[in-house]
């Protein structure tokens, strides 16, 4: 096996995200499939309105949260496979040089799909265990008749087995695509190549630390995206949860907050771990030359801070627009449409909690940077 189970186990972030995506989707889709059985018993107008609102909510929540989280998982999977190829290029290059075909090597990448399968299986099981409570909460005013929890094998196939298979196939295809390069290029190391585009001469007289800060961000744009995305998720879901409390229920608010925190933390963890890992040599060399720990942290980590705050700002605008649309869609057939306005208090609370979380994570990684020594690099 070219890619071992140990490599797949490093995709904990994908496991967590896919687990959460399927957990939420299973709750609402199972409810929507079961609620159909009482459709004939719904005759009164208030019951019909609630029924329609709940079905619409289920569809929107499954599509938005489940869909977004699964798309994030796909992006993370691709990112991780690319990172795996970058960090194992010598081994892969030797295999290619020895005559292994791209297909044969890429076939081993199916193991990465296991993390998704494990995540979806856990998410589905958790959701099924929670369904009786969920059904009670959904009908806590007893407006609708009682709904029995049923197991839908088709849902299990679509939400557990299919994602695992699709992600395994995606991993193989993407791996195959990334391996389509000469064996020598892998052996010599493509990552060490010069940055693409015209040579940068505009910032010729910037101090070295500023140059390094900028080049660190420029050299790995995908990581910049992940950090902005993490802030975006935190900002939008946290602020949305405050409004959910008024527009929907406390359960929705709790789901929203947990999605935001899980997405933001796992994405930030993945991105910053990769940033520090990719810059280990630079940090070790800077420490050897006499740069202080503060300088090293500043050069490697601080370049991403503006992007994190930009992501936060976009998330604020996004959640406001999304809620406006959702309120319109879900309540368009209901006589009394709730009034939704921008919540400045939610913005302030979310912003300060974000600053605390982000700076705490940066502090933890600066402690990790402290432990990097030139000796480890020289022993490679």
């Amino acid at each position: 096996m070219i890619v071992g189970l140990r490599d797949a186990s490093k995709l904990v972030s994908i496991l967590i995200i896919s687990c959460y995506a399927i957990f939420i989707s299973s709750l609402f889709l199972n409810y929507n499939m079961d609620v159909v059985t009482i459709e004939e018993q719904i005759t009164a107008e208030p019951m019909k309105a609630l029924y329609n609102a709940q079905v619409s909510t289920g569809k929107v929540v499954s599509a938005v949260s489940g869909g977004c989280l699964l798309v994030t998982s796909v992006i993370m999977l691709f990112f991780y496979i690319k990172h795996y190829i970058d960090t194992h290029r010598a081994e892969l290059g030797i295999l290619k040089a020895l005559g292994y075909s791209n297909l044969k090597i890429a076939r081993g990448f199916w193991v990465f799909g296991l993390s998704v399968f494990a995540g979806t299986a856990i998410g589905f099981s958790l959701a099924f265990a929670l369904l009786p409570t969920f059904y009670i909460v959904m009908n806590e005013d007893n407006i609708l008749p009682d709904i029995a929890v049923r197991f839908h094998p088709s849902l299990a196939v679509c939400l557990v087995i299919l994602p695992g298979l699709i992600f395994s196939l995606l991993a193989c295809f993407y791996g195959y695509h990334k391996l389509k390069c000469p064996a020598l290029e892998l052996l010599r190391g493509k990552a060490e190549m010069a940055p693409k585009g015209k040579p940068d001469t505009a910032n010729k007289d910037l101090p070295f630390l500023n140059e390094l800060k900028q080049s660190t961000v420029r050299s790995r744009k995908s990581l910049a995206f992940f950090i902005a995305f993490a802030s975006f998720c935190y900002s939008s879901t946290m602020q949305m949860s405050f409004s959910m409390d008024e527009l929907a229920s406390e359960m929705f608010a709790a789901l929203c907050i947990s999605i935001g925190i899980i997405l933001a933390c796992t994405t930030l963890f993945l991105a910053i771990t990769t940033v520090v890992g990719a810059n280990t040599k630079s940090i070790a060399l800077m420490r050897a030359f006499g740069y202080s720990l503060k300088d090293c942290c500043s050069a490697v980590l601080n370049g991403y801070r503006p992007l994190a705050y930009i992501g936060f700002a976009i998330g604020t605008v996004y959640q406001y627009a999304l809620l406006k649309i959702m309120v319109y869609m879900v309540f368009k057939e209901v006589a009394i449409t709730p009034d939704y306005t921008f919540d400045f208090q939610a913005l302030i609370i979310t912003f300060f909690s974000f600053v605390l979380m982000y700076e705490f994570i940066m502090y933890c990684y600066s402690r990790r940077i402290r432990k990097i020594s030139l000796k480890d690099i020289m022993m490679e």
């Binding site: 660190t216 050299s219 420490r287 050897a288 030359f289 006499g290 720990l293």
Partner: protein, 230 residues
């Protein structure tokens, strides 16, 4: 003057320790060109790491003039390296996403050296400042690392097998640059090598074997990079 007094260094766990340096003592004078010569596994690179403040010895002292670096805290040791030493490694360790100019600036900024481009001219790379490391040959990359080390105006330059990854012609050229720059800038050189021919360029030769210094001698006349064998 660098004074090394009774230093020891071991690696491994409690049950399986390996002593790499066994009570080493030596002196290196200012502006000296010292070569530490030994076979692979003799402890020469560990000695260089310990003398330069990259690693701490298990026991013994290392003093630069009157400053005992073994007693310094991690922060002060970093400051010491910033003020006094430069490094050139066998593997260059250039930053791949920065061009030649910016790689050299890494050393220059530590010494607030605004004339660092003169060093780039001195190593013959004045026309390659905007090139990236991957666009340079091995010899050119090593010359960038020489310029980077010298741009920080070190009092002591440590070199660990600087020609180990180079062919004879390029290796001689790199050594020639080091030799001439040493004469121009008058810093102290401590170079580790396994090549006995290179030791003929030194003023002081320290021979090592199995963690011990077996011989220290002074060359009466230094040879240039093009006068030594290979």
């Amino acid at each position: 003057m660098i004074k090394v007094n009774n230093i020891t260094k071991s690696y491994g766990s409690k049950d399986n320790t390996f002593q790499v340096l066994k009570r080493i003592s030596l002196e290196i004078k200012d502006e000296d060109f010292a070569v530490i010569l030994g076979a692979s596994g003799s402890g020469k690179s560990t000695l260089l790491n310990v003398i330069s403040g990259l690693e701490r010895p298990d026991s013994g002292t290392i003093t630069y003039d009157k400053e005992n670096i073994t007693a310094l805290s991690d922060t002060d040791l970093t400051l010491f390296r910033k003020r006094k030493v430069g490094f050139i490694f066998q593997q260059y360790y250039l930053l791949p996403h920065l061009n030649v100019d910016k790689n050299v600036k890494m050393g220059a900024d530590l010494a607030s050296n605004r004339d660092y481009r003169k060093v780039l001219e001195a190593v013959g790379l004045g026309d390659k400042v905007s090139k990236f490391p991957s666009e340079l040959s091995g010899g050119e990359q090593q010359r960038v690392s020489i310029a980077r080390a010298l741009a920080k105006k070190p009092q002591v330059l440590f070199l660990d097998e600087p020609t180990g990854a180079l062919d004879e012609e390029t290796g001689r050229m790199v050594l020639d640059y080091i030799y001439r720059l040493h004469k121009t800038y008058s810093f102290t050189i401590v170079m580790v090598t396994h090549n006995a021919n290179i030791a003929e360029m030194a003023t002081t030769v320290i021979k090592m074997n199995s963690g011990n210094i077996t011989e220290v001698f002074h060359n009466e006349a230094q040879k240039t990079a093009y006068e030594i064998g290979w």
